[in-house]
């Protein structure tokens, strides 16, 4: 090979001026595969083994083994974006089916192949609103309880526009309708709400929020997820224009916040949608074939006038999510969602029975998680629980938040027992 390229060594092929050549070493040891595996294992073994009653945007539902085994097939794992659809039909169909799943769940006509996560999907929703707004407004309204990661990401996304993010108040962790109405004016381009909310409450007045948004000629963006959508009100039925959220509640185990940005919207915004879309077409033999479509919206064609800068997305996580949904089926998804309600209620009841604890703090229906008030400092309670093998959220000086998603009943029993000891 060297002969063919007229070089004595591969080094000769580099055309790097001496002044910028790197003649040093990184100081990184080379290792065998086995040594590397042992190294990573030894590092990660420093993570404590805890039972996590954690949620707030990232959930550890049990993922059926089927999902791992199918998604790990290397044709899925090691292929590139489907720019040559003739040899990518399998993955394109998967993404088409994923889009279809979200269409059914949201009731909206269009869902894209994925954004990075809920926070970035929210950011993209705001820039969509900026592009399609029928008013000349610049205000984006979000709940005051919005997760800091989502709020901050949103602010970064709109920093290059003339949009501004403002909070509206919540009442007992749901939207404070009166306060929202007071906050709305002609200058509002998007109102964002969540169902369930970050504190696990089920939002009761989506329809009214939809009306307020419509009256303001603004976009109604709703944050939710596929499991919640299996049971709670269908966004299309309450006037939602854009659904965002994290679809990795299906398919991905707990993974330090790694997500799958859900993005669905109305057909009228089709040409303004960010991210990849898979559509149906025909091939030369008139057989159905799938392909990435409407690529003129995207950065590799439209450059600085693209609807988003996204390129690499979360396609493989979308595959996992689609498989998990398929494994559950419609009844399984509804059941899983229902258990999110009943198990949260049941845990709240049991926790409420513990002296020195009151739960739920909010007088609402809950989905999957809820806030509990503890007489002792919440951080001390959390630290003591951690000693006993349980992780919970500290949300305020005397508030902890507990999530039942993915935690088996016997582990919840263990938690209640530990909590009793801790607050004793």
């Amino acid at each position: 090979m060297l002969e063919a390229v007229d070089a004595e060594t591969a080094d000769d092929l580099f055309d790097i001026p001496p002044e910028v050549q790197f003649d040093d070493e990184f100081g990184i040891d080379s290792r065998t595969e086995r040594e590397t595996r042992r190294l990573v294992r030894s590092i990660l073994d420093r993570n404590d083994e805890l039972i996590e009653l954690l949620g707030r945007g990232h959930y550890g539902y049990y993922v059926p083994s089927l999902v791992d085994h199918l998604a790990d097939r290397s044709e899925f794992l090691t292929s590139y974006t489907q720019y040559q659809p003739e040899v990518s039909q399998g993955f394109l169909q998967v993404l088409f089916e994923y889009q279809s799943l979200l269409v059914e769940l949201t009731g909206l006509e269009i869902a894209n192949c994925s954004m990075y996560d809920a926070a970035t999907a929210l950011g993209e929703a705001a820039t969509l609103a900026d592009r399609v707004r029928s008013v000349n407004g610049h205000r984006v309204l979000v709940p005051d309880l919005l997760l800091e990661g989502r709020r901050s990401t949103l602010e970064n996304y709109v920093a290059g526009t003339d949009l501004e993010v403002e909070s509206y108040p919540t009442a007992d962790a749901n939207v404070d309708l009166e306060a929202l109405e007071d906050a709305v004016d002609d200058d509002v381009v998007m109102i964002y709400a969540e169902n369930p909310t970050v504190r696990g409450t089920i939002e009761e007045h989506l329809e009214t929020i939809g009306e307020i948004t419509t009256d303001a000629k603004a976009l109604f963006a709703l944050g939710t997820d596929p499991i919640a959508l299996s049971l709670l009100q269908r966004p299309a039925d309450v006037g939602v224009d854009v659904v965002v959220g994290d679809a990795s509640v299906l398919g991905l185990p707990t993974s330090y916040g790694m997500g799958l940005g859900l993005f669905a919207t109305r057909e009228e915004y089709l040409r303004q949608v960010p991210g990849r879309l898979v559509g149906v077409s025909e091939d030369d033999t008139d057989r159905r074939a799938y392909t990435l479509t409407l690529q003129t919206r995207e950065q590799h064609i439209r450059r600085e006038r693209a609807t988003s800068n996204i390129c690499t997305n979360q396609a493989w996580v979308a595959l996992r999510s689609a498989i998990h949904a398929a494994a559950l089926g419609p009844n399984g998804m509804i059941d899983l969602a229902k258990r999110g309600v009943t198990r949260a209620e049941s845990l709240a009841d049991r926790v409420d029975d513990v002296a020195g604890v009151r739960a739920p703090v909010h007088d609402r229906r809950h989905f999957r998680e809820f806030v509990a008030r503890v007489d002792q400092p919440a951080s001390a309670v959390a630290a003591d629980l951690e000693e006993r093998g349980f992780a919970v959220h500290v949300v305020d000086d005397h508030e902890i938040q507990l999530c039942v998603a993915g935690v088996p009943d016997d582990e919840l029993d263990g938690f209640v027992a530990a909590l009793e000891e801790v607050v004793r």
């Binding site: 390229v5 591969a10 002044e19 910028v20 990184f26 990184i28 040891d29 595969e33 190294l39 073994d45 993570n47 404590d48 996590e52 059926p64 089927l66 199918l70 097939r73 290397s74 044709e75 899925f76 090691t78 590139y80 974006t81 489907q82 659809p85 003739e86 399998g90 169909q93 998967v94 088409f96 279809s100 269409v103 996560d117 970035t120 820039t127 990401t153 602010e155 970064n156 290059g160 993974s255 916040g257 997500g259 879309l277 077409s281 392909t291 479509t293 409407l294 590799h300 439209r302 450059r303 800068n309 996204i310 390129c311 690499t312 997305n313 979360q314 595959l319 949904a325 509804i334 951690e386």
Partner: protein, 472 residues
């Protein structure tokens, strides 16, 4: 080679408040029903197994996509990412996640060394997100210096589309920079483009033609002289591993495409990760949180402890949590496996392979000397047709029609993983297609799962969900 849609196998409508169910919620808080396929595990296993067999992948053949660096993804990386100890929630205490924090700290360190950068954030979940961090950092930096008037980002014409889109998303005006005759940055044009309004120059090096920007030191000086920042697009870093570092060339900020350079799998489009490195001066603006060694007076442990911290003038967050953690675990494993020796060897083989392949094909390669990739010209043939026809020879074609500086571009990057035999097979495919007539090319491909697909009708009457197929 046809697999019906899940929905064509079954659609079951489950009612929330039907006779058989018992909703824990009042009607007005729930939907009415959910209509989805209800299939058994065996049926699903077959569905996805069959679909997987209709996908070309790096595990089925070479994938020489220029600027995409489709290298083989070592299998063991999946194993380490699947370790149960990697499955932690982002809201856990730092005390209980020392393993995660240590791995992130060490990866920050590795990446800093490899790029010659002083500080690294792992948060951006993709290359474009990394670019966005770079742009947001530039905004914050200039604002911090009272230079909010800077509103222009200069980008070479041949740059990746994400550069333009990201600069625009960041609120900047894009100033497009033409190439010189040699395919590199035109210094005069750069001089003309630079001004007191310049916020940054975004550059890939080697550029998308595979050419090293030999004048990089001068370019850096010019940009810095007007107070601008120099941004390095990491898409082509594979060419330079152990040979040159963006930090040493004068770049102030860069992103790493770990799914390109560090072999984390592309997953059919993602997830990747786009960590960003910066020089000291920009470190205070990086996203929050980052990881550092804790000042560890209390601890009597042998091992250092790690903690999260917010950079002083942080731009905040660009992801709800900490980015694509599982991808980062794989990245760390890959770098730890290769080390200095393996990384330096990778760039040597990547460049040798590209040069060898270029020497074996009949298409003209107008620019050089190139590194890890080259851009051939299909000449009188349509590059997109060439690509379709190459599929018939059982290989994946190169990226086509870009960069536009080469007519009917065939942008080709074989990567270091391909053997001579595979490169010869690729060359044979190129050359077979080069000898064919337009008619053959236009009717290609003919040996693939689907034949040529009608893109126009897909876009004209979009059908984007199975629900849209109802009336067929």
């Amino acid at each position: 080679h046809y697999e019906p849609l899940l929905a064509e196998k079954d659609l079951t409508s489950a009612e929330i408040d039907g006779d058989d169910t018992d909703s824990p919620l009042p009607d007005d808080l729930t939907r009415d029903d959910l209509e989805l396929p209800a299939l058994s595990e065996p049926e699903l296993a077959r569905h996805y197994t069959r679909l997987s067999q209709m996908i070309y992948a790096i595990d089925t053949g070479p994938y020489p996509l220029g600027s995409c660096t489709m290298k083989y993804n070592p299998k063991f990386m999946e194993d380490v990412a699947a370790l149960p100890t990697a499955a932690v929630h982002p809201d856990r205490s730092e005390r209980s996640t020392q393993g995660t924090l240590e791995l992130m700290y060490r990866l920050q360190d590795y990446l800093g060394r490899i790029g010659g950068m002083d500080a690294v954030t792992l948060q951006p979940p993709a290359g474009a997100a990394g670019e966005f961090v770079g742009i947001r950092v530039a905004v914050a930096y200039h604002e911090h210096n009272g230079e909010s008037h800077r509103n222009e980002v200069i980008i070479p014409e041949s740059a990746h589309g994400t550069n333009f889109a990201t600069a625009a998303l960041g609120g900047y005006d894009v100033v497009s920079l033409p190439s010189d005759d040699g395919g590199r940055v035109d210094l005069e044009a750069l001089e003309a483009a630079l001004s007191e309004n310049t916020a940054a120059l975004m550059l890939t090096n080697p550029n998308t033609l595979g050419l090293f920007e030999r004048d990089i030191a001068e370019i850096a000086e010019m940009v810095h002289d007007v107070g601008g920042l120099l941004y390095y697009d990491g898409a082509n870093l594979n060419a330079l591993l152990g040979r040159a570092r963006p930090g040493d060339m004068g770049f102030d900020v860069m992103h790493y495409n770990v799914h390109k350079t560090f072999a984390t799998p592309h997953g059919g489009g993602g997830p990747g990760a786009g960590p960003v490195g910066v020089v000291d001066e920009l470190a205070p603006f990086l996203p929050s949180p980052r990881v550092r060694e804790a000042d560890d007076a209390e601890s009597d442990a042998d091992e250092p402890t790690y903690e999260l911290f917010d950079p002083e003038q942080t731009i905040g967050k660009v992801h709800g949590f900490q980015g694509n953690w599982l991808v980062l675990v794989k990245t760390f494993a890959y770098i730890a496996r290769l080390g200095d020796e393996g990384l330096t060897d990778a760039s040597a083989k990547a460049v040798l392979n590209a040069n060898y392949l270029a020497s074996q094909i009949d298409y003209e390669v107008p620019y050089g000397p190139f590194h890890h990739e080259f851009v051939a010209s299909a000449g009188d043939q349509d590059a997109a047709d060439v690509a379709k026809r190459m599929l018939d020879f059982g290989v994946h074609p190169p990226t086509t029609k870009w960069p536009e500086i080469v007519p009917e571009a065939l942008m080709t990057e074989p990567t270091e993983v391909e053997s001579k035999a595979t490169l010869d097979r690729l060359a044979a495919a190129f050359n077979a297609v080069a000898a064919e007539d337009d008619e053959t090319l236009e009717s290609a491909p003919e040996r693939t799962t689907a034949r040529r697909i009608d893109q126009t009708s897909a876009a004209r009457s979009p059908r984007l969900a199975w629900q849209a197929l109802d009336d067929e």
